[in-house]
């Protein structure tokens, strides 16, 4: 399959819309990206033909809904290159997935046990571990950052002790775009028998994930950054580990039998999916991942590299602009945070918005990282597969306008 960007963009009708009288240039994909028409259609089709609760009633429609829901679980497994779909737990998103693990796995921790995170973490992979620290007396350690925003993994030798139970780090930073050297992290964890969680919220949107190759124990990501709907995400965990963990939330669906004396809990993912799940969202996430799996990734990666090269060059020609993250084409996602001397990201992004260019200005829910760089906020342009060179040209022109207005 070849990759024609014009044809590809046609799958996203919203890209043809206008914002503030200008053509939309959407560069906030790291927050949320759009759903292609095929995924939208899958959601409508499910609701029109198969809407019922899952894993409960025996009527035909319920069976159809359950089949669609479980098929989505299989699609997630294919996307993550894992054999056992039972290891896929649907959650409302990455945040919920990490909280689930922090409560369930965390409940087995003893005072003095250690969790290692990094300064580059999104609050979703920081605050749950702080809460665990406060609940259980766990020590929370942080991997510092290098000047380019990459994790300083050389510090793992001293940070990771035999009290370490878990290293929980981002697969790729939502601020710097830097991709973590996962091999290094896994090796450090294995030396002391610790486990590894990757926050895949950003990385999973940029192509199928090969979990066996990564060698981690848990992986979390969200649907709405992967061309699926909001309100759905995934926690994957090795069955040998998750099968030993206590449930997080109690309710219908996660039990086999409830008595006054005690309960028998469901096996596998079902143990962690209490209540009616977000069924249509899960089915649509499955459709989004199947859609992603069918894309020509060799061509798309070349397209993303071209855009990365152009964006880095374009930003570096802006006077006073500093990129917060690696200035290399390799080892990064196509998302770019930057700071312009004397200009606040909120002002920058407001003026760009007036030109139809959507960027995020703020701390990106990564305030420990902001503190490390002595910043309150950055402006961030984050690209998706559907972005093209014209989007980057529009941003460059927009930034000239910003400088004119704010100077």
């Amino acid at each position: 399959m070849s990759f024609d960007i014009t044809e590809f963009r046609a799958q996203f009708p919203i890209l043809g819309s206008e914002v503030n009288g200008c053509r939309l240039r959407y560069l906030d994909n790291a927050s949320t990206t759009f759903m292609p028409t095929a995924v939208l259609a899958s959601m409508v089709e499910f609701e029109n033909s198969s809407r019922a609760n899952v894993s409960r009633a025996g009527h035909s429609l319920a069976s159809k809904a359950t089949d669609a829901y479980e098929q989505a679980r299989s699609s997630v497994a294919r996307y993550l290159n894992i054999e056992n779909a039972e290891e896929v737990i649907f959650t409302p998103g990455t945040t919920a997935a990490i909280n689930l693990l922090a409560y369930s796995f965390g409940s087995t921790f003893q005072p003095g046990d250690e969790v290692v995170v990094s300064l580059a973490e999104h609050h979703s992979n920081f605050v749950p571990w702080q809460l665990l620290r406060d609940r259980r007396g766990v020590h929370l350690k942080t991997i510092p950052l290098l000047a380019d925003g990459c994790l300083d993994l050389e510090t793992l030798d001293s940070l990771v002790t035999d009290r370490c139970k878990l290293i929980a780090v981002t697969h790729a930073s939502n601020v710097t775009g830097a991709i973590t050297d996962v091999d290094h992290v896994v090796a450090a964890a294995r030396r002391v028998g610790a486990q590894v969680l990757l926050d895949g919220a950003q990385a999973a949107a940029h192509g199928p994930v090969d979990l066996p190759a990564l060698g981690v124990d848990y992986y979390a990501f969200s649907g709405h950054k992967c061309f699926g709907p909001t309100g759905i995400g995934v926690l994957w965990g090795r069955q040998s580990l998750m099968g030993e963990l206590p449930p997080f939330m109690g309710g219908g669906g996660m039990v086999e039998r409830v008595t006054l004396e005690g309960n028998h809990y469901a096996q596998g993912a079902g143990c962690f999916e209490a209540g009616t799940p977000p069924i249509a969202q899960a089915v649509s996430l499955g459709a989004a991942l199947e859609w992603l799996l069918a894309l020509p990734w060799k061509e798309i990666r070349a397209h993303e590299r071209r855009l990365t090269r152009k964006m880095l060059h374009s930003l570096q020609t802006i006077p006073g602009l500093r990129i917060i993250g690696p200035c290399t084409e390799e080892g990064r996602l196509p998302l770019f945070s930057f700071d312009i001397d004397g200009m606040h990201p909120h002002d920058i992004c407001h003026i760009l918005d007036q030109q139809g260019i959507a960027l995020r200005g703020g701390h990106h829910c990564a305030q420990p990282l902001m503190d490390a760089f002595d910043l309150m906020a950055t402006s961030r342009a984050s690209l998706s597969i559907f972005n093209d060179e014209a989007d980057i040209d529009a941003l460059a022109e927009g930034l000239k306008q910003v400088i004119e207005v704010l100077s």
Binding site: H344, P345, H346, D347, H350, I351, Q354, G361, G362, H363, Q367, M370, M376, A377, V405, L406
Partner: protein, 141 residues
């Protein structure tokens, strides 16, 4: 349009940084954050008999936030806490679209923020220093 928001008067007001700095032996110190964008205002003041006798602020925020803090720093000393509360409510009302109040001359610079009305996501940029001021006055009370 952004040109209206970023008019020269706002830029001049922000650049003037009226009240920026530090008050020795402040009676109240308050830090307020805007969770949307991470802007932070730290405000210190001294009060005597319900009247502000000294005020300073430290702002790490956008142009609108810095301009609003500067507007406060320009006129707050000498005001009663009740005056401050009234002005804060009037500014909030103006941002919601109500007509400009009949401000005394020394508060006239607040009318520069009227174009922000059209940009709801920026209202808190203007209001954050006022919220810090009210919180500081309450702390002292």
């Amino acid at each position: 349009m952004s040109e209206n928001i970023y008019q020269q008067g706002i830029k001049v007001l922000a650049a003037a940084e009226h009240g920026a700095g530090h008050v020795e032996n402040a009676d109240a110190t308050v830090t307020q954050d805007n969770p949307l964008c991470g802007d932070r205002v730290t405000l210190e003041l001294k009060l005597q008999n319900g009247r502000i006798t000294a005020l300073s602020h430290n702002v790490r925020g956008c142009l609108l936030c810095r301009a609003a803090a500067s507007a406060i720093g320009e006129v707050a000393v000498g005001l009663l806490v009740a005056d401050v509360e009234a002005v804060q409510m009037e500014v909030a009302a103006m941002l919601k679209g109500e007509a400009l109040p009949d401000w005394p001359v020394r508060w006239q610079s607040l009318s520069l923020f009227k174009p922000v009305q059209a940009h709801k996501s920026r209202h808190n940029c203007v209001l954050l220093p006022f919220k810090a001021l009210i919180a500081a006055c309450s702390q002292r009370h």
